[in-house]
Symmetry: C2
């Protein structure tokens, strides 16, 4: 008898798709929504559906965007900046924007090179990046990939691309904890790593 | 510029409706779903919507149920048991079922008396409970409300009701941590409290 009803069990299973949600907290979430906040549950369902369907990616920098170009790419100055910061994910872009330190443009890889997982240059939009670098507007690239094996490989690959186009390239100082992920680095460490970036 | 797009921000806000989800983890959930698992996000949206709309309550014991009566109430033996365990929530019923110790019927209050929050006897279905007790089938009531002020008040109220109908009434031994909530008590403590229950 110690079983959830089928729909409650399905809800618990679906909530476990969220990062860091184990069986016990998924159950607590399901029961709390059902018992105390069905309206909230319905609202979450609706917003989830809309976001999954309507949030796309900026055609220039590949960050999350609901139209064709994001706020930064349509900005009259930033969108044509000579300095481009290349990050692994939209979350990393957000973390850097929070520091307020950088006023150039971005390119969001949405991943890092990882041949074993089938993530190669095409998946990271590196053809698109190469085209942008070939246009001659970008004079400096700041590589902000993670200080991990995949991040190193990705940075190396892009650095070669930059050198081919005579673009100055640097990488964030490894003041970041080695093996860590940029998204979780605190703002001051990130600021330090930003200003202490080294030529590649 | 350090802003999420409107839909992403809405999604982060909606995820914070879940218990114990702060701004940082809501952002992580939103970004991860958008970047890596849109299908999972759509599935969660659909299941959420269905569960919020279709999960109702058992007409006899008030636990979560998708039909009129739950599995326990429709069970040929348990549904007519002479022993009734009264719990504050469906989560508490689930926790007791997990111990496998109890083979009677339940009544789920879906709350505890708390006049300041507007929760009185009507909200807890105590009229419905009184009718069931008046039918004469129930000979023993086990009160499993939380060891808190509200749980004490609720237990006291129901104990009076039981005495009126000459029904034997006991309450779970306070082997449970005082001030704690039944749902979070580990199985062995709960088993101990169950077998050590005292006449009320
Ligand atoms: Zn953009
Ligand atoms: Zn029932």
């Amino acid at each position: 008898m110690g079983k959830h009803t089928p729909l409650v069990q399905q809800l618990i299973d679906a909530l476990r798709l969220l990062p860091s949600v184990g069986p016990k907290s998924a159950q607590r979430m399901a029961y709390q929504l059902l018992e105390r906040n069905r309206e909230g549950g319905m609202q979450l369902a609706q917003v989830l559906q809309q976001a999954m369907q309507k949030v796309g990616h900026c055609q220039q920098c590949r960050t999350f965007c609901e139209g064709q170009l994001c706020q930064i790419c349509t900005h009259p100055v930033r969108g044509h900046s000579a300095v481009m910061c290349i990050v692994a994910s939209a979350a990393d872009l957000y973390a850097i924007e929070q520091t307020g330190l950088f006023a150039g443009r971005y390119f969001v890889l949405r991943g890092q090179l990882s041949p074993l997982d089938g993530i190669g240059p095409a998946e990271l939009g590196l053809d698109q990046l190469a085209k942008q670098l070939a246009q001659g507007q970008v004079q400096e690239v700041i590589l902000a990939t993670n200080p991990t094996i995949e991040g190193d490989a990705t940075a190396f690959y892009i650095a070669e691309l930059c050198k081919k186009h005579q673009i100055q390239v640097s990488r964030l100082a490894q003041g970041m904890p080695v093996g860590g992920e940029l998204e979780y680095v605190d703002g001051s460490t990130l600021s330090y790593a930003f200003s202490g970036r080294k030529p590649f």
